[in-house]
Amino acid sequence: MTEQFEPVIIGFTCNWCSYRAADLAGTARIKYPPNIRLIRLMCSGRLDPTFVLQALASGADGVMITGCHPGECHYLEQNYKAMRRFLLLRRMLTQMGIEPQRVKLVWASAAEGARLAQEITAMVEEVRALGPLNWGKVEVPAFSPHPSSLKEEVPA
């Protein structure tokens, strides 16, 4: 085991801006910690809050949502919708005991590879400081078997 807690962060990126920013960070060999794993969406507007909940519920310690800067959306204005959802989601997550630092919204244009890398680095640090998503607090009930196992348990 490593002594240091290594968080896992799922990043949602927009195909036109932040995914390209990540490409650019790569091309420019800008370094950032390997704790983030990216998923490409067509737009930050595609971001369904369910994805965030699913990632957190599935073991991610943080989620970074990224998109074009306001006013620069490739699809004109969809990032504003992402922003609205994010602002409401953040309120809801706080009530659910999830620290707001674990879910971030970052605007990064295709040119901002360095900025994206910087944001990732900062977020990894922050989440590392918070420690693992505290499921103790969340009180997850015990596991329930998969419905496909019905066959075995229910006599014919």
Binding site: P34, M42, S58, A60
Partner: protein, 671 residues
């Protein structure tokens, strides 16, 4: 059906293999992801090479792969390559996923162990996702052969002529009474100093006479519906109050009209026109229009002098605006630029100090057909200046205004220096930050103007004032600046100041963008599909941009873009149909509750609501696949191809390696 997945891990020479243990990743995938359907996992030096692609093709054929995951570079680079390879081997190309372990792993991480672990996770994410990929076909859309060109400046003219010469119908919509745009206002054009009218007029005439061009001046686009290949455009033809079939263009009306108006458009505020007018002598078309806002008859109910004197009875005060509907397959936007408003920089005194002029005012002044017949004079209309200062970068390269370089104003200022010298023999001082003359024969022009004795001072003018401080300054305008090459302040008394105001997006650029469903950059210039490799296409299929609407540029580049846009349009028309990426959303009517949440979320108006059935529907040709509506539908009635819920949720789980736990999310969480 059992899926048979092939995983291919690329070394990219040492680009990936130098950091990620690619062999280990492939072995791991073959072993640990076997239960997810991975039947073969290979690593290879260069997956994108023809040998690498053949490897995949061979496996598809021989091992009967049903899905393919390539772990290599960014999908933006080679997604198409690997999809094509799959297609060649008979596998639907959309059953192939390319995940990035180069840009997102080996190039950005240094810890080899961690990078290898991440590469595994990324691959696992790809495998989970590919399981949910669906076989898709590109959408095919027929192309209507007619084209709409909006804006009759040099860029629009060029585009229209090229397309029309290719044998296709063009509708050219221009807001002003005549085509010509800014270029028609100039006297001479750099760097060769040809007369603008001499080179532009023949082109304008060609447009006017071209059998394939329907010219619609004094018109504006009101509505754009439909999508690439099949746009329905509504154009408002403003009432000219002149019957064009009767008017001979004799100009008597204009002469007799008693109402004089400052012409803020064509004469840039430096001259007058009448209430009935053609903006300039070579205007195309030649028919005048009545400017109702200023016409005495329309404002006060009496006058009608024009009607009285018109020899052909062409005046018709009762004309109304007309709405015309056009059917076109492609659109070229060439609406150009506006000049930066120099009043925004009060220290240069424009609008307060009479003898400070903007560049466009000066263009009109030195134009032989302009308000001063080409005489370079002060605001009094009589006195020739003995000293003239030209200030570069007005409103450009300045974070307080526009941060960009307007690209043409250095050359334009040098042109002014030349013209002033030529016409008046005055001493000329150009104040510049950097002399930007980077195009063919441009720097030579700079040298020529210096050779003619123009003084160039490297330093941005700090202010223009009429407050004399030293002897010799009384009654003059004083330009104060630091001559940065000697590091001293200088005050140059001049008679006339010319401001090289920058180029700005049209004041209504945002509305125009909205009308056509395009995006503007933060500055307001329309965004091209790719700044280097696709500068005239836009993200909206079927809509192209040319000229200054895309960013500041000179005439040669505007012409190049007009021609390039035309070439793109003609290619489309020739193909007769285009295929579009099948990234689309669709609504399951059965599930849709008609809640109308999604209805105003689509910026492309792709979602329509059927009142009768109370369900919403997506027009696949308008949908651009952003997925916003998919993410919003509370009933889960909307799904999207290529980025479906299942694909993304599965990828999340794959990235978190939950597939290794037999789907038992909670166990991992509890751990």
């Amino acid at each position: 059906m059992a899926e048979r997945i092939g995983v291919y891990v690329c070394h990219c020479g040492s680009n990936i293999a130098g950091v990620v243990d690619v062999v280990q990743v492939a072995q791991w995938a073959a072993g640990r992801l076997k239960h997810r359907g991975v039947i073969i996992a290979r690593d290879y030096k260069f997956m994108c090479s023809s040998l690498g692609q053949e490897l995949i093709e061979q496996d598809i054929k021989e091992l009967g792969l049903t899905r393919v995951v390539v772990a290599a570079c960014s999908p933006h680079l080679h997604e198409q390559t690997f999809r094509n390879a799959c297609a060649r081997a008979g596998l639907n190309p959309y059953l192939c996923e390319l995940v990035s372990i180069r840009e997102q792993v080996s190039w950005v991480h240094t810890d080899k162990v961690a990078a290898t672990e991440k590469a595994k996770a990324v691959t696992s994410g790809g495998v989970e996702r590919v399981l949910w990929d669906e076989p898709l076909e590109p959408l095919r859309v027929p192309i209507h052969p007619a084209t709409l060109v909006v804006g009759g400046g040099i860029a629009g003219i060029q585009a229209a002529l090229e397309i029309a010469d290719g044998g296709h119908r063009v509708y050219l919509v221009e807001r002003e009474p005549s085509i010509g745009g800014h270029m028609a206002q100039f006297d001479k054009t750099f760097p060769t100093l040809d007369c603008a009218a001499c080179i532009l007029t023949p082109k304008m005439v060609s447009v006017g006479m071209h059998p394939n061009i329907t010219m619609m001046t004094w018109s504006e686009v009101e509505k754009v519906e439909g999508y690439v290949g099949n746009f329905t455009v509504t154009v408002r033809q403003k009432a000219r109050c002149v019957k064009t079939d009767l008017c001979t263009g004799c100009g008597v009306c204009e002469e007799k009209c008693p109402k004089k108006v400052v012409d803020n458009v064509f004469e840039a505020g430096l001259g007058y026109r009448k209430a009935i007018y053609t903006p300039f002598a070579q205007a195309v078309p030649k028919y005048p229009v009545i400017d109702r806002e200023n016409c005495t008859y329309f404002q006060k109910g009496t006058c009608k002098a024009c009607e009285k004197f018109c020899p052909t009875g062409a005046i018709d005060f009762s004309q109304q605006d007309e709405l015309i509907t056009l059917q076109v397959g492609n659109i070229v936007l060439a609406t150009g630029f506006d000049l930066f408003d120099s009043r925004r920089i009060p220290q240069y005194g424009y609008g307060r100090l009479a003898n400070v002029f903007t560049s466009l005012e000066f263009e009109r002044m030195c134009n032989a057909a302009g308000p001063t017949n080409g005489n370079v004079v002060l605001r009094d209309g009589l006195t020739a200046p003995k000293t003239v200062g030209i200030i570069h970068c007005v409103g450009s390269r300045d974070k307080n205004f526009n941060n960009y370089c307007s690209a043409i104003c250095c050359m334009q200022s040098l042109k002014f220096a030349h013209i002033v010298k030529e016409r008046t023999g005055a001493e000329v001082y150009n104040f510049y930050i950097d002399m930007r003359t980077a195009a063919k024969a441009y720097d030579e022009f700079d040298q020529r103007v210096r050779d003619e004795g123009t003084h160039v001072i490297r330093g941005r003018a700090a202010e223009v004032t009429d407050a004399a401080r030293m002897p010799g300054e009384e009654g003059k305008l004083i330009i104060q600046a630091e001559d940065t090459l000697i590091g001293r302040q200088r005050r140059i008394p001049v008679d006339m100041v010319l401001l090289a105001a920058g180029l700005e997006p049209r004041r209504d650029a945002k509305q125009t963008a909205q009308l056509f469903g395009l995006s503007c950059s933060a500055d307001g210039w329309f965004i091209e599909k790719h700044p280097k490799l696709d500068p005239v296409a836009t993200m909206t299929e079927g809509i192209f941009i040319a000229g200054c609407v895309q960013g500041p540029k000179d005439i040669p580049n505007s012409v190049v873009q007009g021609a390039a846009a035309a070439a793109r349009v003609q290619g489309r028309i020739q193909q007769k149909e285009i295929s579009l990426e099948p990234v689309r959303a669709s609504i399951n009517e059965h599930r849709c509750s008609g809640c109308r949440i999604c209805n105003n979320l689509c910026p492309f108006n792709a979602i329509l609501f059927h009142d009768d059935r109370m369900v919403s529907e997506i027009n696949p040709a308008l949908c651009q696949g952003c997925g916003t509506c998919v993410a919003a539908c509370p009933a889960g009635a909307i799904s999207g191809t290529v980025f479906s819920n299942e694909q993304i949720l599965a990828q999340i789980q794959g990235l978190l390696m939950l597939n290794l736990n037999g789907g038992r999310v909670e166990e991992l969480v509890a751990a």
